[in-house]
């Protein structure tokens, strides 16, 4: 359970259900698909504002369309997370 109130994919309706569907339609490597069947926690954390969800993840998605190679991007994001002592 997150500390912040969130709405699961199962309970989502209207614009949130639509936003979740858009997130799920993005190309995602298997390793980043959680096995609990709900939307990933970082996406669900934005569930109280579907417009914010779309905007934040449109930027993160755009960082995948670059000459920066996949492995290098993973390295940069991992080092950033570690500097912040964060599991994400």
């Amino acid at each position: 359970m997150a500390w912040l109130a969130t709405i699961s994919r199962r309970d989502a309706g209207g614009d949130l259900a639509q936003a979740y569907a858009e997130m799920a339609a993005r190309p995602t490597p298997e390793v980043y698909v959680p096995d609990h069947g709900d939307a990933p926690g970082i996406i669900r954390a934005h569930s109280l504002d579907p417009a914010l969800m779309r905007l934040a993840f449109s930027v993160s998605g755009s960082l995948h369309r670059s000459t920066l190679e996949w492995a290098d991007r993973e390295l940069v994001s991992s080092v950033t997370s570690r500097a912040n002592e964060c599991f994400y």
């Binding site: 930027v59 755009s62 670059s66 000459t67 920066l68 991007r73 912040n84 994400y88």
Partner: protein, 177 residues
Amino acid sequence: MDGDAIQTATGVVAMFNYLTRVADASGIEFDYATPLPAFEPRRDKHPLPRPPADEWPVVTPRFTDLWQRWHDYLFDASHESLTWRQRLVLARAAALESCDRKRADELAEHAPRDDVDRVLDAFARKLSVRPWQMAASDLQALRDVGFAERALLHAMAVTALQNAESRLAVGQALASG
């Protein structure tokens, strides 16, 4: 690496300063199906000391169109969850903790004025400088002064975004020599 790759790498650093802070403040759980051992954060880590204010860089980030839309949305004055000024109180605290002279000066007039502002300021400073120590009680402190759950999401998102943008500015300045 070409210019596009360097610009993207800078964006990834900035983006993960946003995502990690939303993860830490919201209390989501690790949920990727990775075969690797889970990373254990060192929650007793001391933040690196910030340099004196007169040594902070004066830099301005360049946003892509998508990033600008994200920024404009979170700093829009029409949201009911948090007022425009409350957003700027949060951003000012985050800019100060990110050693961002330009943004901190821009927002200088939005120093905390009342008890609610001071709660927001404390929240943003902790989330900026020692996000690994965030706890459920940090969100409860916002609820206790009357904020609803959507305001909590916006408070962490504004703070996290300012952290990201201050780092984007520094990264772009470094990348352009």
